[in-house]
């Protein structure tokens, strides 16, 4: 068997630009003995990906590695290119984020698994026919039907693609599997299945697992030992239990707190962050009985090639003034369609009723424009929803100009940016998105919505693409907007922790229907519907290998 060890490893990217060389990893020592499981947690920029890529020498040529990366006792720098190629996948394979672009989009997934077998042909899969059999065997291992072998990546769901990645990683019977954010972008139920499957397969075969993630709870569910990285340095290292439940370092505490434990009274209505948004009102707004936006018997159907699909089925929902309502559900549950129809962006079926402030939602474009001033949308990925060539001022002012609000334009923009806690606002006006961090970008998007003085914000996964520490900041901002301005918000999310952190009420959606709806404390503490219970059970909890033990 093979063991992997990093001894005083530092990795530097040489750069010709004015920034000079960038040290991505400094002085890391970690061991992965045979059959062990190790998790490395860190946010983007912590150097965790760089570190694991060095194990198979997959870093670009512009990097220098100091210290020793040893695989099976050999320093990987001493291997020739031919030798390192033989090591890749046969001794150590990588599970990339399959949900994204780690599979070749124009080749059948079965063929991509076979390709790995071809490059490391062993007795058991010497001939093409045997390799084919082995590929089908692998698909079965990861609970995929054989018919999926001829699928292209775009025909599979995120979870299915991730299973293909795992099947591929197991293909050549490696001693070590390195998993790079294997469940990011998957919803909790699929995440749980993937983690369980991976833990089972790795455990059965005695394969060592090195997994990196930004989510401490996910790592602690699978790994015995945890390492925390920040800015390329090792912050804390120890057994999962100890690191998660009794962390010594402040940074580890911050990471551990970023994803709240549902039921934990301390994090209720209190997203943990070092930079909480300020509540300025002496008497903060609280949820009222005044209905702002209401949907009655709302249904949305699409014509597909298989016939008419009902994406949203008879939904009743009421958003009150100064209420934060979280709509939770898996991908494909129709929650985004629901949000789009509440915004008047999606045609609804006959018999559906949508009311804003007591009057029916207009259908004409001109009247809808006035309505949209009152109801603003915030999307998931701030990098994608901001035009990269436009300054912050232009991004925020656009809504005002569309709505033909011309008085005090400058003051309104400044006010919106300050309400989104980008202070001093004047410093940001000329910046373009590229110069801002992920959290700042999302604040700009929120400011763009706030500039119009809306009564309602509808946000689709507003923190899903943000780092753990930034997540708390943005959630705290939503809470402050409610308390300071009496704003109502409907937040679409797959993250029950978010609902626990800031929402007054929660609606659980499944296959287009709301299966449970009520205030957060009741629904999440005492779920009635089986699906809500299942969702809650799938949320990874801090603590040692909870998913594996239960599974």
């Amino acid at each position: 068997m093979t063991e992997l060890s990093f001894a005083n490893v530092s990795i530097t990217y040489r750069s010709a630009s004015t920034r000079g060389d960038v040290t991505a990893v400094s002085d890391i020592s970690l061991d992965l003995p045979t059959g062990a499981t190790l998790g490395i947690a860190g946010e983007s920029g912590s150097g965790k990906s760089t570190l694991i890529m060095s194990a198979l020498r997959l870093l670009p040529k512009s990097t220098t590695i100091d210290g020793q990366v040893r695989l099976g006792g050999k320093d990987i720098r001493d291997l020739s290119f031919g030798e390192i190629r033989a090591v890749r996948w046969a001794q150590a394979s990588i599970v990339f984020q399959g949900a994204l672009h780690s599979l070749n989009p124009v080749r059948e997934v079965g063929g991509q698994i076979i390709e790995a077998l071809e490059h490391h042909a062993k007795d058991a899969w010497m001939t093409p026919a045997k390799r084919r059999d082995r590929m089908f065997e692998l698909l079965e291992e990861v609970d995929l039907d054989q018919s999926k072998a001829v699928s292209y990546p775009h025909e599979l769901s995120g979870g299915q693609k991730q299973r293909i990645m795992i099947a591929m990683a197991l293909a050549c019977e490696p001693d070590i599997i390195i998993a790079d954010e294997p469940t990011t972008a998957l919803d909790v139920i699929v995440q749980k299945q993937i983690l369980e499957g991976m833990a089972r397969l790795v455990g059965e075969r005695g394969i060592s697992l090195l997994m990196i993630s930004h989510d401490l709870a996910v790592l602690s569910a699978v790994c015995e030992n945890l390492a925390i990285m920040r800015h390329g340095k090792l912050v804390e290292y120890g057994p999962s239990d100890q690191v998660c439940l009794a962390p010594e370092e402040d940074y580890t505490k911050q990471l551990a707190n970023a994803f709240p434990q549902i039921g934990d009274a301390e994090s209720r209505m209190n997203p943990r962050t070092l930079k909480p948004a300020e509540v300025r009102r002496a008497q903060p707004y609280e949820m009222t009985d005044e209905v702002v936006l209401e949907a009655k018997n709302l249904s949305v159907s699409f014509d597909t090639r298989q016939g008419r699909e009902r994406a949203v089925r008879g939904v009743d929902l009421a958003l009150h003034k100064a209420e934060i309502l979280a709509v939770v559900g898996q991908s494909g549950s129709g929650k985004t369609t629901l949000a789009r129809s509440l915004l008047g962006l999606q045609e609804v079926d006959a018999g559906s009723q949508l009311d804003f402030a007591g009057t029916a939602l207009p259908r004409k474009a001109k009247a809808l424009r006035a309505f949209r001033r009152q109801v603003q949308m915030i999307l998931q990925d701030p990098s994608g929803s901001l035009n990269p060539k436009r300054s912050v001022y232009e991004a925020v002012v656009e809504g005002l100009r569309v709505q033909k609000i011309t008085d005090d334009e400058y003051a309104r923009v400044i006010g919106a940016l300050e309400a989104a806690e980008l202070t001093p606002a004047a410093d940001y006006l000329e910046s373009i998105p590229q110069e801002l961090s992920g959290g700042q970008r999302q604040r700009v998007v929120i400011a763009g919505a706030l500039a119009l003085d809306p009564q309602v914000l509808i946000a689709d996964e507003p923190v899903a693409s943000l780092d753990a520490s930034v997540r708390g900041e943005i959630l705290s901002l939503f809470l402050a907007l409610k308390k300071n301005l009496g704003m109502s918000a409907l937040i679409i999310t797959h993250d029950l922790g978010l609902a626990w952190n800031i929402a007054d009420t929660v609606a659980v959606m499944k296959k287009g229907e709301i299966v449970e709806y009520g205030d957060v404390d009741t629904v999440l503490s005492d779920p009635q519907h089986a699906y809500t219970q299942e969702l809650l059970a799938a949320v990874p909890r801090l603590g040692s290998q909870s998913l594996v033990n239960n599974g």
């Binding site: 997959l58 890749r88 139920i189």
Partner: protein, 360 residues
């Protein structure tokens, strides 16, 4: 967001631990599995419909555009010899130019559908016959040039991208851009002067030395000799666009994660490039390649004029100086038809190459 229906076989494996049967989270029945569908026939019909619409517009435009050209064709014919007004009127009625425009248009439409494109004023032969005679040389010239230009451009393009910012990349890209910027006729004339004039290595014009049988061995060699200069001119001027498109799309693919996957699987850099990166980069390139083949054929007009190549381009060039209306209309329709067919071919080929279009 749609929830697709499933007609897939139910998995024989054990149920997923931890998920109740109704969760929709089964590996084979994921809720967010993208829907399938899309028939090839429907796609083909849509694309054919589009091509047909373009063709109709071309036919209409072909008639009216050339009637806006300055110059009276009958006066032009009459210029060389003395003619009485009665003779001119006679000529007009012979060509149908005395009829109202709308009637002329109708005659033209009927002609197109019966393959009868009228008679050339200058050559005094049916246009369709002329086009058939001149089409062969043009196809020979442009097909040779296209194959070479596409091959050279794509090959250099992928190497340039793979070795981005290397000396090879810089030399290859800048050289191609220099040729791209040179006017075709100028490059043709320079080549003619050097290799045909000063050095006398190659013939200066035409397709074959008069008197030789084009199908005899000597005749074939003679045609190849005549072909060299015009082909070099065409290739030099156009290969840059293939190089640039290939280079840009490969550079875009080079940062994709699936290439890291391929490397991690133990593939060599050459395998990563040839098996994964280039097939993906070719997809956007294919469309451009086909669209430019159409452009190449129209580009033949200049080259054929410079090298007196007896093809459609030269025929068009002569027809413009008339204006020889029936001939112009004929070559215009044929050129346009070739371009439209090429674009249609691009759409169909793309559909076969890219599974995302094929089954989306």
């Amino acid at each position: 967001m749609t929830t697709p229906t499933h007609d897939l076989p139910t998995p024989s494996g054990e149920p997923d631990p931890g998920s109740t049967g109704s969760s929709g989270g089964r590996a084979d029945h994921d809720m967010d599995e993208p829907p399938k569908g899309g028939s090839f026939l429907g796609y083909l019909l849509r694309k054919l419909g589009g091509a047909l619409t373009s063709m109709i517009l071309v036919v209409v435009l072909g008639f009216f555009a050339f009637r806006m050209l300055p110059g009276d064709p009958v006066l032009k014919i009459a210029k060389e010899r003395p003619m009485s007004p009665a003779q001119i009127a006679e000529l007009r009625s012979q060509y149908g130019l005395d009829k109202p425009v709308i009637v002329q248009f109708w005659d033209y439409l009927v002609g197109i559908f019966t393959g009868e494109l009228g008679e050339s004023y200058v050559y005094r032969k049916p246009v369709s016959e002329l086009i058939v005679d001149y089409l062969g040389p043009t196809l020979l010239l442009t097909a040779t040039a296209a194959v070479l230009a596409i091959g050279l451009g794509l090959w250099l393009g992928q190497l340039s991208a793979w070795r981005r910012n290397s000396l090879f990349d810089k030399v290859a890209s800048s050289t191609s851009l220099v040729f791209w910027s040179v006017p075709t006729f100028w490059l043709g004339l320079i080549l003619l002067m050097i290799f045909g004039g000063t050095l006398q290595w190659l013939p200066t014009g035409g397709m074959i030395t008069p008197g030789l049988d084009p199908w005899s061995p000597a005749g074939i060699i003679d045609v190849i000799k005549h072909l060299i200069l015009p082909v070099i001119t065409m290739v030099a001027v156009v290969y840059a666009q293939y190089l640039m498109v290939m280079r840009a799309s490969l550079i875009e693919e080079m940062s994709e994660d699936y290439l890291t996957t391929a490397r991690a699987k133990g593939l060599t850099e050459d395998e990563v490039r040839k098996k994964h990166a280039v097939p993906n980069a070719l997809l956007p390139t294919i469309t451009v390649v086909f669209m430019h083949i159409g452009g190449l054929i129209t580009g033949a007009v200049t080259v054929e004029a410079v090298f007196s190549w007896p093809g459609l381009g030269k025929l068009t060039f002569e027809a413009i100086s008339g204006p020889d209306l029936p001939l112009l209309q004929g070559t215009f329709v044929v050129f346009s038809a070739i371009i439209i067919v090429m674009n249609l071919a691009a759409d169909i080929v793309y559909r076969f190459l890219d599974p995302r279009v094929r089954r989306a």
